[in-house]
Amino acid sequence: MLKLLALVGFTLSLSQFSFSAEKLVLTGSSTVAPLLGEIAKRFEKSHNDVRVDVQTGGSSRGIADTRQGVADIGMVSRALKPSEKDLTAFTVAMDGIGMIVHSSNPIEKLTQEQILNIYKGKVKSWKNVGGPDKSVTVVNKAEGRSTLELFLKHFQLKPYEIKASVIIGDNEQGIKTVAGNPNAIGYVSIGAAEFSISQGVNIKLLPLNGIVSSTENVRNGRFPLSRPLNLVAKGEVSGLKKQFIEFAKSSEVSDLVRDQYFVSVEQ
């Protein structure tokens, strides 16, 4: 019992400790969160009495939390929709989405039509698109993920049209799912896929519309399926919020952007 009281006392005394630093809260896209976490740390170093807390949970959450005021800044890994024009977006980096298959898969390219048919469940075997006689494992992203929304938009698909075998959440999970299944096809962030390939993970990137899936082609704007990684804020942006957003867009953090395998947008 004494120990219990001591523990309660300890916790209470700890909560007295919170110092009154100015605090910024960011929530949203799990793709963007690790990058912003690092940017936040660098920002804190040059701004002593500021704390920047970065939370995760997906782009939709970033939008909702920013609207409700739970978060000061949201992280959204796509362009804003017309219905979201109450928020202002600031692009901090670019990312491309590429189709990946297992490295043992002999397929070197798929047409737009073929990818569409695979995801609609009309093509069930790799044989029908020039591969071996193995059934296709379709890996799709979960609802609320902006990678899914971009994929749907690019291929002009409706969510219910997709016949998925596996539903995944984060990027790395997609890479691991495809690397572990020779018959799988999926779509993930190109930067993350390039890094995994360089580390010997068993996946390969397929070109899209004849254009090689590479961060280089995302940078020069030739790649058709790319997205901005945005910070979003409600109303007029001023003070600390403005300082942080400008810092995140500046060349001071472009090494951090490259370190997360994204494409930096030089100002």
């Binding site: 309660v8 909560s15 809260v25 793709t31 990058l35 995760t56 949970g57 890479i175």
Partner: protein
């Protein structure tokens, strides 16, 4: 013939379970232990956890566990004692409580996460904080703990209580000197299950204690739990696998250590009080 077959089947199932256990622990131990250094336990993570250690994350994890356990033990033990010693266990009221506990014990953890996010983070205004996370964990672990503690109290023969009453002991004395000491093994088991559930939790913590991997300076700071860190490194961070294995190895060591020390501490304090 039938006996032999049965014995083979029983041995086979033990073997399968043991194999699964050793495969998991072995995989984590080999991949995690090979490259682990003392630094890893004390330093801050860098490059989103690909490099550096887990110092702040360990601190957050222990704080979360501390809050969770202090509430689970006090409220949980109280409820279990009430249900078993202070009310007739077939009464309607205790039936309702027991039913709701059983339902709560089966609720997926993400539901607790969303509930905790709404109640503690938003309505009570605690925000993304270790306090919110610990309270959410407590809500999750309470049903499990209460039910195990209660069933171990119920297993005590009523003669013990009658005998104590016959000697003129008060209800409180009976509880402290007779019933609780006998029930202790079951209560420890419940506690260890609760610790396991709390330490392994990811879904309920991402939306309550949050994702910040900085050293917490108060319980109102957001802090990343070890399990959340492992999940993020393996599922979201390309190139985070090695540190994910190291963290998982630490988590297993931590669980073993806490289980062991929890049971010894409780056993010792009880002997002293006796």
């Amino acid at each position: 013939m039938g006996d032999k077959l049965f014995s083979i089947l029983v041995h086979l199932s033990v073997l399968v379970i043991a194999l699964v256990f050793f495969a998991i622990v072995g995989d984590v131990a080999i991949k995690g232990f090979t490259a682990i250094q003392w630094d890893f336990i004390f330093t801050e993570p860098s490059r989103s956890g690909r490099e550096g250690g887990v110092g702040p994350i360990l601190v957050s994890t222990f704080l979360l566990l501390g809050i969770c356990l202090s509430i689970v033990i006090s409220l949980g033990l109280g409820t279990a004692i009430y249900l078993n010693e202070f009310t007739f266990h077939k009464s309607k009221f205790s039936k309702i409580i027991e039913l709701s506990l059983d339902i709560l014990a089966g609720v997926p953890s993400i539901v607790f996460g969303l509930f905790g996010n709404v109640l503690f983070c938003k309505i009570l205004g605690l925000g993304f904080s270790i306090l919110s996370g610990g309270l959410t964990l407590a809500c999750m672990a309470l049903p499990l703990f209460i039910r195990t503690a209660q069933s171990s109290l119920r297993g005590i023969p009523s003669e013990y209580r009658s005998g104590s009453k016959a000697l003129g002991f008060s209800k409180a004395t009976t509880l402290i000197k007779v019933t609780l000491p006998v029930a202790i093994p079951g209560i420890i088991a419940g506690l260890i299950l609760s610790i396991g559930r709390a330490m392994a939790e990811t879904a309920a913590l991402i939306f309550t204690s949050g994702y910040v991997d900085r050293m917490p300076s108060s319980l109102l700071d957001s802090g990343r739990a070890l399990s959340v860190h492992i999940y993020d490194l393996s599922m979201n961070i390309s190139g985070g696998d090695l540190n994910a294995y190291r963290s998982a190895f630490l988590l297993i060591i931590g669980l073993l250590f806490i289980n062991f020390s929890a049971s010894t501490i409780i056993k010792k304090t009880l002997r002293v009080e006796n």
